[in-house]
Symmetry: C3
Subunit: 312 residues, 3 copies
């Protein structure tokens, strides 16, 4: 594996899940993996789970781990050929080249602006680091994908499925702010490429995800139809891809006990942070069918499997 | 020891002081204590000594240490049962549950608002982490207590006392801003529970600390009376508990050479940061009777003793 | 070596370069250097390269490394004898004394204000830490010097020189903001004290550096004259020392392909961050004559050599 930006970088989703499970089963049996290697985590946006789980994974594998919050420093320029006489003090070409000399793996988080779809979907920040870095680049969530979350979700589903090929429902849910499509995009493409689940996606009209991520999944606009027979209910808000960045005030899409009753005694999943009684009711989130903490725990082992693959 | 929130968590103050002294005497003889364990330090408020001494203690004992500044990220919700459609993106229930999976010990700093006494004295932030975390929680200063400071102060007094049962005077001193009662509350309850000193507390009328912390100490409103015969003078400003958050412009309460002359050649103590020539005169702080640097040094060994007890 | 603030602290520039080269050649052969030692990096101003390279160097040598961003906390007081009743919560005397107890080496970054020349050139922040710290102090760039950058530059030149005594041209270049003289001051004094190059400095009239840094170098106001025959072109903007903090809009001072054609097939050097097509053209920076990434890489080994010398 050269970089870890999307499911397309993983030679085999199944094999990566197996490695995550193996490290989870015996975390400190892999301390030589990162020996004499350095991991740098670069954050252009805030993070709690991603930061802590990746730091934990790196340390557990024996890496020297350095985390850098870019919000406290100067802005980077991402355009080529321009006269840099405004507020951006350093070009990503230098930044990525320099950072590559201080580490063996470079992990980067960036968010979309949710204003200009073409700009966001060009995934400029992470792609510029890939272009100019000379070490493997890991996405800690980019403008349009969150692959470490998705790998952790695959591991969680693999640990809890009852059937060989469970029905997984990804459902849109309400949220007071406009959010990226990254988690949903990634979840869809990982489920489809993993090939061991049947994915149905339910969202309001106007909230269909970009087809490049959902090809191979069923997309419906009837939440109840999607939930029926589901073994896993993955819930997430996203702003509109078609009317880019638009939101909708649809409180009826909350996932509560009544909705869960439609399923095949499904597990509830969410990437966190989650807004209680907006996205999901307290009753569902507090129930023993909720896997949100297990998902968060698996972030560590997903990151560890990726670091192992890139350090190899 | 299950958590470390107050003196009431310590089975024996004396024993904890002994362990701190033992680790101080031979710091690197305890590198296995934290082996394959992770300490996460979570800061909702700024810190210099607490952060650095706890990081140092953790590393010295062999922990993987991760420090997270929450000010750069999203706000947590602490109320149960509410509809989270405003500015708080994550409930402490999820945050504490998630963090517990990334570490073996979770240390948290939070400050009071100094507006609503009942709210502050419910010590909501630290107690919510205790409620929802599944690992031991350490207070790095809460709204109403600063137990690591107090344990370091106990160690410092034990190292410098001349008499078996020294007289210790805790005196209020002036400050331009309104400050928490946390350090004074904690100092009082640790001194009383330690049981090896006689504590007298001097403060202006209207600045008596909450009785739950001072029971067993003498409280007077005459600073000179408190200082007479004292072997240790612990100085600290706090805002009013009774007229909650009120301050007083009483420059006469400064601790200077004249005040120290009333004592039994006492040592001067303060938790730092200290405002020179407001709280204490340059002459006292620069003298060889000042223990403020020793107190700060002992923060490391107090933290180490607590981490050891919780990791055991 | 007691501290590392300027070239004057280095017993021998040549020997320090040799140690940096030796550690670079075999980084992990020196893991005992920092064993059971702690390095604290304190930042009063933002940093990318300096922070990451110093952290990397410290970890590679086996130090426990703690980095603290002072911007998130309270302000320090640097004046002696004043009544601290305003916005500065802690005196550097306590801060430096306390920090000295948490580490074996204390590294500090601070910037000038570029308003009051006497104040800046007193280099108050770093000198206060030197005065009150009880451990060696390393400058991570002070108001007037950047010695770790200069040592890395010496190593880079030593690796790439063709002649025993190359001609090195330091040239001023345009920039939209007013910048410190620190990098240029340091570069000049290191080149002169190293004694193995001929240094010529080219800058516009009114931009001569302080003579204490440039004694021993040739100073000219004709960029082309300086570049002719140069084997290395070190480019940097600085604001005026004589008309303190003044800038000049002189786009003709950019270093581009035409300028480089005047040299003896020179290497291009810059400390980064660099503004493309303002300081230097894309063509020069992207060419194989650019050493900017090598300089940044050598920051790690310069820091390592200094940490080794101070830990000894």
């Amino acid at each position: 594996m050269k970089n870890f930006l999307s499911v397309h970088d993983a030679p085999s989703v199944g094999r990566l899940i197996e490695r995550a499970a193996a490290i989870k089963a015996d975390p400190f049996d892999h301390e030589r993996t990162g020996h004499h290697k350095t991991l740098i985590n670069l954050f252009f946006n805030p993070s709690l789970r991603t930061r802590l789980s990746t730091e934990k994974a790196g340390m557990t594998l024996g890496f020297q781990v350095i985390t850098m919050d870019m919000a406290g420093g100067w802005k980077l320029e991402f355009e080529d050929g321009i006269v840099m006489n405004l507020d951006r003090a350093e070009h990503v070409r230098e930044a990525a080249g320099v950072l590559s000399q201080y580490c063996d793996i470079l992990a980067v988080r960036s968010f979309p602006e949710l204003v200009d779809r073409d700009a966001d979907y060009a995934d400029r920040v992470i792609n510029a680091f890939v272009k100019y870095a000379t070490v493997p680049v890991v996405s800690l969530e980019s403008a349009i994908r969150h692959p470490l979350q998705s790998l952790a979700d695959c591991l969680t589903i693999s640990e809890h499925r009852r059937s060989a090929r469970p029905r997984v429902a990804l459902t849109w849910a309400p949220h007071p702010r406009k959010l990226p499509q990254a988690v949903a995009n990634s979840f869809a493409e990982w489920m489809v490429n993993w090939g061991e689940v049947d994915l149905v996606i339910a969202n309001p009209e106007g909230f269909d995800l970009a087809p490049e991520f959902t090809a191979g999944a069923e997309v419906v606009h009837d939440q109840a139809a999607a939930l029926r027979g589901a073994e896993f209910v993955y819930t997430k808000n996203w702003s509109s891809y078609t009317h880019y960045g638009a939101t909708a005030d649809l409180p009826g899409w909350i996932v509560d006990e009544d909705k869960m009753a439609l399923t095949d005694n499904a597990y509830f999943m969410h990437c966190l942070p989650v807004r209680r009684n907006v996205i999901v009711s307290d009753g569902v989130l507090n129930s023993d069918r909720s896997l949100v903490l297990q998902q968060a725990n698996n972030r560590t082992w997903a990151a560890a499997a990726v670091l192992e693959a890139l350090a190899g």
